[in-house]
Amino acid sequence: MNQSLNYLLRRLGFYFIAAWAALTLNFFIPRLMPGDPAAIIFARFRGKLKPEAINALRETFGLTDEPLLGQYWSYLKSILQGDLGISIAYFPEPVTNIISSALLWTIFLAGFSLIISFSLGTLLGTIIAWKRSGKLDSTLPPVLAFVGAFPYFWLAMVALYIFGFELSWFPLGHAYGDDVTPGFNMPFILSALYHAALPALTMILVSLGGWMLSMRNIMITTLGTDYISFAHAKGLSSRLIMLRYAARNAILPNFTGFGMALGFVLSGALLTEIIFSYPGQGYLLLQAVRAQDFPLMQGLFMTITFAVLAANWMVDIAVLFFDPRTRK
């Protein structure tokens, strides 16, 4: 048990290093750009910003006359205090407020679709690896590989066009209807689920193939090992061998892949949110890009990075739970 605690702490240390690297990148990117960041910002917003906004910007980026190291320290201090600066697009709202109000929607939408597509993909991968050369195995991978070749957001556009616009089965955007009041009541929950259904379905459809194929490949390797042949020789039932013997082992590398792929899948989820005008992080990202709202963009980068790191740590804990070998 001691060793597994050790392992988790080591991973935690890695995530702290990664978070620090992201913070540092976030600080240096504006400063490493050709030209003076302050000059770039002021030139882009000439005449469009109130003097208070310009001062807020200067403060956000710590663009003072202090030496670089001093700026860096005050930047780290303010981030640790949860201060991500003031948004330009939603001036004078602090970035932290804007992001936190949109964070729940992203976690709800992206989290649910991720978990569903991971579980479903893994299950399908297990089955098609088991019934190899069957009908499912020869049709499903190429079809899903083709679907996976489309950009997430483009498939979302098509889905919105067909099911939202032409057939009117689903709403054209937003997270819940105008006729419900947000809160813990049935109409609101149903409305939220109804609005999340189509974006979630497109995300699941695109990412399903990846999970399925990787599970299939690991599963095939696992099926070739001796202990599976031995289980066959003992006369155990197929279902038992498939699920408890092969899949239970084959899923472990897939878990690690889950953590790795999180950032990538999330990027697709952000673009999908934009298509569906879903009020999550992706939608904010678009607003930030449109308005050249640098503090908001950088705040989003920080929040999303922290979320991914936290999720990765949870995956580490899950692996520890599922794989007795790491617990020794």
């Binding site: 290093i17 919105l160 032409e166 066959h232 990027s267 673009l271 963009m297």
Partner: protein, 309 residues
């Protein structure tokens, strides 16, 4: 030695050309490159105002016009140019950087490896899109910015794969022999090991190109490319800006999206092909399939094939 090496490569190339998946992919890719290169000579001017905006497909404009009254077919064909160029350039650079950092990290163990693999893992775990957005929004828009941003956020995966491959080669006898015979480390990496990784490098290049095309289109769709140029990403950006979706003009976004998907799928097919030709496990499987009817291969039980006539 060299002779033997050559014959392996020739065998691979012949194998890939004979492989149905791979050759389909290769043909599709060359078709797109060919169209992209010939584009300006065979289509109407993609940036000219030619007809009523958002008019549906007709004889004059096979794929209709977009919100700016430009010909969608011409835009799709000439959009391939920059998109494929940036995609493949990024692919090459990602593989070069991956081979350099992953190769060094896997070859030298110890502190160098600790540091480099930490660097690789940090870049792997950082979410790509938001980082790309920040970088691209500070830099002047254009193909150079796109390439740079895509390389910076995409190199880590390849470096990781190449690193683990390098580690397995590092412990082989031929490397030890080269070290004992006094060959320089750089020479061993570049001339002894890298040629043996060629199939991995090739499939890394293809994988990186798929990633680059998708991510590039995503960034440009957000409006972070140079929106005055014609690329697949900006086509979709304008389609979404001009409300193509809400006016029901599907011809505005379907051709570009399909092209992206077909190119990515063709590249995936080539990768499957490379895998089938060079992966020993799959070669063995193909031998079985040729010798024994599929139905007799029972799960988990290794069929025995007498392969010597």
């Amino acid at each position: 030695m060299d002779n033997n090496q050559d014959s392996i490569f020739t065998r691979w190339i012949i194998g890939i050309l004979r492989n149905r998946k791979a050759i389909t992919g290769v043909v599709i890719i060359f078709l797109f490159i060919f169209l992209a290169a010939l584009g300006p000579f065979i289509t109407q001017d993609p940036t000219a105002f030619l007809s009523t905006p958002l008019s549906p497909p007709s004889w004059e404009h096979w794929l209709g016009t977009n919100g700016q009254g430009q010909d969608v077919l011409a835009q799709t064909i000439s959009g391939a140019r920059q998109t494929l160029l940036v995609g493949f350039t990024t692919g090459i650079m990602v593989v070069l950087i991956g081979a350099l950092i992953g190769g060094i990290s896997g070859y030298y163990s110890g502190r160098i490896d600790d540091f480099l693999s930490l660097l690789i893992n940090v870049f792997l775990v950082m979410p790509g899109l938001p980082l790309m957005v920040i970088l691209a929004s500070w830099l002047p828009p254009g193909p150079a910015t796109l390439t740079g941003v895509l390389v910076l956020t995409g190199w880590a995966w390849n470096a990781r794969v190449i690193r683990s491959q390098m580690m397995t080669f590092r412990s082989r006898d031929f490397v030890s022999a080269a070290i004992v015979s006094g060959e320089h480390n750089i020479r061993i990496i570049v001339l002894e090991i890298m040629p043996r990784m060629l199939s991995l490098l090739a499939s890394s290049f293809i994988g990186a190109s798929i990633y680059a095309i998708g991510a590039q289109v995503g960034l440009e769709f957000l409006g972070l490319g140079d929106v005055s140029t014609v690329t697949w990403g900006t086509n979709l950006y304008w389609a979404s800006n001009d409300m193509a979706l809400l006016t029901g003009s599907w011809w505005n976004f379907v051709p570009t999206g399909l092209s992206i998907a077909i190119v990515s799928f063709a590249l995936t097919l080539i990768n499957f092909g490379i895998d089938e030709v060079t992966n020993p496990r799959l070669i063995a499987e193909r031998v079985w399939r040729e010798k024994i009817p599929i139905d007799t291969v029972v799960n988990g039980i290794t069929p025995v094939v007498k392969d010597h006539e």
